[in-house]
Symmetry: C2
Subunit: 158 residues, 2 copies
Amino acid sequence: MAFGDQLVDAGGKIAPDDDGDIGELNEIVGFHIRLAHGACYRHFTETFAELELTQKQVSALWLVDDHPGISQIEVGTRLRMDRATTMTIVNRLQARGFMRREKSATDGRKQALFLTDRGHDALAQAKEAIRAHEAWLKSRFTQKEVDTLMELLARIHE
Amino acid sequence: MAFGDQLVDAGGKIAPDDDGDIGELNEIVGFHIRLAHGACYRHFTETFAELELTQKQVSALWLVDDHPGISQIEVGTRLRMDRATTMTIVNRLQARGFMRREKSATDGRKQALFLTDRGHDALAQAKEAIRAHEAWLKSRFTQKEVDTLMELLARIHE
DNA sequence: CTTATTTGTTAGTGGAGCATACAATCCTGC
DNA sequence: GCAGGATTGTATGCTCCACTAACAAATAAG
């Protein structure tokens, strides 16, 4: 990847051995969160290339499986998505035959969401892939570090 | 937000006091990374609403300021973006008069990137906003925890 | 010199987040 | 019980980001 390259030219000074330096940016917590998320996202996408499922889709399948009959607004709230975004996720999963909408018996405004048989199959496969993905992620940490990381991350999003 | 709501209906059992439960999903590290990133992204977007700058744009401005004459490919490599994505970022920043491209003196394939005066102004404002954003992020941690978090995150994206 | 690689560019695809607007349903205050 | 407000789902449209594929120009490698 051309390490040791000349980084400043066109009249600037030469700065060798500047490998991947990002200066003060390295001290920004938000920046590291974004990079870690990006790395995670890319590995996830690779892992789920065959299944053709995104993080959001898997999360939604998982959540509906855990809570059959859950409403769209609840799915959105728990996964931190707004109504419009949740719609597109559910639409896709429904179009692929993984999920179905039923009129809620207790609240006419709500849709009750359920997995189809194909949805259960897809989720089972997805959980296998998640295991591989998580193994990749956790391979660089001790269990204690994993616990610490999750606790710290939870404080950000709770 | 209707906590204590009935979550399972349409024939299912009632599950009260299920506030925000996401079941096993809660044990997935990648899930917490995504949620933390989302929370971070939303706060960043709010903080930068007036400046109309995105995380990527600020990172790129910052990096070019630190390394005047850096090439697009280097920006992309260091910020973990591919060439095409880097293009769109630089295009936007150039269109807004924050950045300019010069032909590299040492490698005819490369563009040397520089901030304009307006770009320096924008970055100065952005750094102010970053301070507020980082303060929000760090407010829930001790300095030691911040260090730990950054170290753990770095292991993911390095 | 010929070939392969690197860099920038363009064009197109898809996911995700958000805002707005609207209709149906539910809930509250009177 | 009724009117007004809130909630939920839906539709539309916008922006941003990541990626692919293809191409041209320049450099590097054989």
